[in-house]
């Protein structure tokens, strides 16, 4: 195996720069791979939120649209694909890669070279997908060659993420410290395991569907599969709830770990919390059936047997994940009865989990046919909530674990207002979309595509201007707060206050090593006797002592 000696001193500053770049490009260190995911995803988040805000701005006055339909369609594709597979999932994967092996007390990630390959597959696929979209080749695009390229590159993105998630799952199952059984796993690691195992089922199905879409588009012969709309029609399940709720499950785990640290208590009941997080991941079943499970309109008029056959899959795919999310948030929040030490990470995680819970609830309502919300902006508002929940969670995770990556902490004083600003932005972006959805505003930006190549009309009876203006402001606020957090994190990595090894008085194994953690994580293997091994050593701080 090729190794890079971190202590080698290059002859010049130019040499040091080249060595540093080479070190990052060829790295198999899970902490670096995680940070690479986080950094790229943060950059794409800024771009995708800017495009989303622009799209929302275009909706304010549908009578005077400044962009032509093709451009709007591709911007919509970029926002949806980008925020889901280049931001949302990579953020949680990056956070998992960067911290899970430390939480496990492991010296490295399982299959680190596969994880590195996964990162580069994701990155190259993401770049190609963005190029395809820019060349009018995304879903509903008009450039046939680039539509093909988009299908293949989106598949590459999914395979890259799948490789990283497979490494995480294998790590959690095989590299835990002695004594750290599944029941003692830190909540975040458990939630990443739920995400990884769910994704092992969901993502290959999406990739296989992309293969069919590619073949059908490459060899056009049938109306149902060919054409540039097939991506949205056949792979759409992978871009919406409850599959996107699966991607947000690690936010619940993060909340568990952060609350435990802030209150310095053992969160109970541990088993039900783990079970609830597992239930929240049941949205994966939606991918298995490759179609949204909607409770048919006119449900009350159905016969008893039809009601049962409608209700059972709906309960399994839609309601159980909501129940799991609710129980996870409620049980973990119960730990806050012990007065917590308020930190930016706690506020980020709490607000993020609340957004995820609201998104899960709205996702269920969206799939009740009698509510009349299918195909409206209600779904978009729900999706924004889940994206916002993951953004908040990822920012909380970075604020919490930054000392383990660069030995410096992000200032709570500077980060706390950003948590509130992001939360307000997400609410402002999502709630007006819900209201507009109840007023039947269509969900896509291209509802009148059949009417002509340059016509964009919204069939809408409510005050569209107000809701779309508020949503635009919310998206702009999200953009500003994400950008500000990225700058704050970058500044703290260079000039932040240095910290000790355990700045938060943590409970789990990552706080038992130095800050920043060395390349092999731990000097010695640790024996674990409880779910909060560090609390065992700090009897004076135990509230339950």
């Amino acid at each position: 195996m090729t190794t890079i000696d971190p202590h080698a001193v290059p002859a010049s500053s130019q040499g040091a720069f080249v060595a540093s770049v080479a070190g990052w490009v060829t790295t198999t260190d899970h902490k670096r791979l995680g940070r690479l995911h986080l950094a790229v995803a943060a950059l794409v988040a800024v771009a995708a939120l800017a495009v989303s805000a622009l799209l929302s701005f275009e909706r304010i006055d549908s009578a005077s649209v400044s962009l032509e339909l093709g451009g709007l369609t591709q911007m919509f594709s970029f926002a949806r694909f980008g925020l889901t597979y280049l931001v949302m999932l990579p953020l949680v994967v990056g956070l998992g890669l960067a911290i899970v092996p430390l939480q496990l007390g492991a010296r490295s990630l399982a299959f680190p070279r596969l994880a590195a390959t996964g990162f580069w597959m994701w990155l190259i696929g993401g770049v190609l997908a963005i190029v395809s979209i820019a060349a009018n080749g995304g879903p509903n695009g008009g450039n046939a060659r680039f539509v093909d390229l988009f299908s293949l590159s989106a598949g590459l993105v999914i395979l890259g993420l799948l490789a990283s998630l497979g490494c995480l799952a294998a790590s959690i199952m095989t590299t835990r410290a002695p004594g750290l059984n599944m029941r003692r796993l830190p909540f975040f690691s458990w939630s990443v395991l739920v995400l990884a195992l769910g994704s092992v089922v969901a993502l290959p199905i999406a990739a296989a569907d992309l293969l069919v879409v590619f073949l059908a588009h490459k060899y056009p012969s049938l109306s149902e599969l060919s054409g540039n709309r097939a991506v949205g029609e056949w792979v759409g399940f992978a871009f919406t709830q409850p599959v996107t709720l699966l991607f947000a499950v690690p936010v619940l785990g993060l909340l568990g770990d952060v609350v435990g640290t802030a209150t310095r208590t053992r969160l109970t009941p541990r088993g039900p919390i783990l079970l609830a997080v597992g239930l929240a991941g049941l949205g994966v079943l939606s991918a298995a059936i490759q179609t949204p499970v909607v409770l048919t309109s006119g449900f009350s008029a159905l016969s008893a047997s039809d009601k049962v056959s409608e209700l059972l899959p709906f309960l399994l795919v839609q309601v159980l994940p909501l129940l799991g999310t609710f129980l996870a948030v409620a049980l973990v929040a119960g730990g806050l009865r012990t007065k917590p030490k308020v930190s930016a990470a706690l506020v980020f995680a709490l607000l993020g989990a609340l957004e995820v819970l609201a998104g899960a609830a709205a996702g269920v309502l969206n799939h009740v046919g009698d509510a009349g919300l299918v195909g409206t902006t209600f779904e978009e508002g729900t999706w924004i909530l889940l994206v916002g929940g993951v953004l908040l969670g990822a920012m909380g995770g970075v604020a919490h674990w930054a000392p383990k990556w660069w030995g410096r902490r992000i200032s709570d004083k500077a980060a706390l207002p950003l948590a509130l600003l992001t939360f307000v932005g997400v609410e402002l972006a999502a709630v007006p979309m819900w209201i507009a959805g109840f007023a039947d505003q269509p969900g896509a930006v291209f509802p009148a595509v059949e009417a002509g190549p340059s016509v964009v009309e919204f069939s809408y009876s409510g005050p569209a201007e107000l809701w779309n203006t508020l949503s635009t402001a919310g998206l702009a606020l999200m953009l500003v707060s994400v950008l500000a957090f990225v700058l704050l994190a970058a500044r703290s990595a260079v000039k932040g206050d240095t910290t000790g090894d355990d700045p938060w008085d943590g409970l789990t194994l990552e706080w038992a090593t130095t800050s920043p953690a060395p390349s092999d994580n731990f000097a010695a293997l640790h024996a674990v006797r409880s779910a909060e091994p560090l609390l065992d050593l700090k009897p004076s701080t135990r509230s339950d002592a």
Binding site: V200, L509, A512, T513, L537
Partner: protein, 192 residues
């Protein structure tokens, strides 16, 4: 740095076996997803046109059945390799792995023959797209299996006889492949 009690080195936890198991689950999910689409489109075509197979296309059942039958000795040979590897028997392990790879090649050859005999044009409709997508994916899995057999055999014959987990993971892969191919055989070749 907090001083937790240090622990002895943990027993091996079969990392490769778990990794291969996850890969097999992903492969089964992808194939299952494609077969579900195949069934959905077949049902639609039958309801709309009363026919699913394109005119003049016949499925050659002999090579399809031979492929299925070949999976039994593949699994037996893969397990034989495990049995021999556990006992440190290099010759038997190498022979079993070689036979597994050979039969894997035979499966790929039979699939190529089916493609040639059926000669389904690529742009023949939903059948051709789904036929090539499903059989292509499973053939790719067979190619990966053959490469796995060759790499495992070379490692073992090269002297890494202590790494029995690789041989066990190899057997798991072929068991999973057999399951996936059996699904494909029933849906694409038997019920068509």
């Amino acid at each position: 740095m907090i001083a937790l009690p240090s622990a002895p080195a943990p027993a091996p936890r079969r990392q490769l076996l778990v990794g291969v198991g996850l890969a097999c689950a992903a492969a089964a999910a992808a194939t299952g997803g494609l077969l579900a689409l195949f069934l959905q489109f077949r049902e639609r075509a039958m309801a709309a046109e009363g026919a699913w197979l394109p005119d003049g296309i016949k499925v050659p059942m002999v090579p399809a059945n031979v492929m299925l039958i070949a999976l039994l000795p593949i699994c037996v040979f893969a397990q034989w390799a495990v049995y021999a590897a556990v006992r440190g028997d290099k010759a038997h392990t190498g022979t079993a792995l070689g036979l597994t790879g050979m039969l894997g090649l035979a499966v790929i050859n039979a699939q190529a023959m089916i493609w040639k005999v059926m000669a389904v044009p690529a742009a023949q409709g939903s059948y051709s797209v789904l036929f090539y997508a499903t059989t292509g994916l499973v053939t790719l899995l067979a190619i990966i299996g053959v490469v796995f057999s060759v790499v495992t055999a070379l490692r073992f014959l090269g002297g890494r006889t202590a790494e029995r987990e690789v041989v066990v993971a190899h057997a798991l892969y072929w068991y999973a492949f057999s399951f996936v191919f059996a699904m494909l055989w029933f849906v694409v070749y038997v019920t068509k």
